[in-house]
């Protein structure tokens, strides 16, 4: 099947950022790219979902309303468990974060329409380190600013855990500071690497299917990587949900540090 081979591109092409509406401001390139497009689509999907869920509110919830309520209760319980009652004032932030990451991850799994130009292909914004790092830095900044705002210099107690023997006092704060500063990096890399690795495996398996189909009589065994791809797809749906959950819960735990710094 030569037409398949001509359409094939490598597994890395899906992460390429392409301009859709070029915008240049002085020396800066602030074009509307396919990454921006899929972020807008993600936000629109979440807004539409929540709009549908809250449109006709009733005491006995309908399908959409109970789906919305399940997500709300899920995040609210998670935040209350991790950061206590005081943490609930951060609920809008955590819920937005969770829904945005979940929508970005899941929409990136949508198959592209064959034959359309590359810039209209599906794209996962969270597979780019700069996007996840920006999200992680928002959490980090929130924790630092709110921690100092609420506790003053008492926030620094975070770096001196209770019950440390005096002869370790020179070492433990250093380790705590380093681990505190590495939090946004580990948050960002976890989400980015999961999305990147998942989509790469996905496209590599798809490449196996195409090259086996092109191999003539042996093309029958192309069913094996196809089944493998199906399993990877199911795993990726799980990972998309799990990573959004992990990002949100780690944000909750970090916010808890800002609210109750002495641990």
């Amino acid at each position: 099947m030569p037409f398949l081979m001509t359409m094939l591109s490598g597994p890395m092409e899906q992460f390429e950022i392409m301009q859709i509406i070029p915008v240049h401001l002085g020396a800066y390139d602030i074009s509307f790219t396919n990454s921006s497009l899929w972020m807008v689509i993600g936000v629109a999907a979440v807004s539409l979902f929540m709009f549908m869920a809250t449109r006709r509110l009733s005491l006995v919830p309908g399908k959409m309303q109970s789906a919305g309520e399940t997500l709300y209760i899920f995040i609210a319980d998670m935040l209350r468990g991790a950061a206590g009652k005081e943490g609930m004032k951060f609920f809008p932030y955590i819920f937005t974060l969770f829904m945005f990451i979940l929508a970005s991850n899941l929409l990136g799994l949508w198959p592209s329409i064959p034959g359309t130009p590359a810039k209209w292909h599906t794209f996962t914004p969270t597979s780019h380190l700069i996007v996840t790092l920006a999200l992680a830095m928002v959490t980090f900044t929130l924790v630092v600013v709110y921690g100092f705002y609420k506790n003053g210099l008492g926030f620094l107690k975070l770096f001196v855990p209770a019950g440390v023997p005096w002869w370790l006092m020179w070492l433990i704060p250093v380790i705590e500071v380093v681990s505190f500063l590495s939090r946004p990096i580990s948050l960002a890399i976890r989400l980015f690497a999961n999305m990147l690795a998942g989509h790469l495996i996905f496209k590599i398996f798809a490449g196996f299917v195409a090259s086996l189909l092109a191999a003539g009589a042996w093309g029958v065994i192309a069913i094996l990587p196809l089944l493998g791809n199906f399993a990877v797809y199911l795993l990726e749906i799980l990972v998309a949900f799990l990573q959004a959950y992990v990002f949100a819960i780690l944000s909750c735990i970090y916010i808890n540090d800002a609210i109750h710094p002495s641990h």
Partner: protein
Amino acid sequence: MEPEAAKLIGAGLAAIPLAGAGIGIGNIFGSFLEGAFRNPSAAAANQQQLLLGFALTEFTGLLGFVVAMILLFVF
């Protein structure tokens, strides 16, 4: 050795952390199941800890992946 070959070997070596991450993730789920079968009523309350431990362990393996990507595409 050609730099290109060294790059590929290095990227391959960077896949070794997968072994450690695999052992760690298996350990987490194994221990969780062991505890959950002993006391099934406490299992649901600890799901959050399970997923958190899973994510933190998986991160070590993913760092290896990031190192491989850096070796392949940055240098």
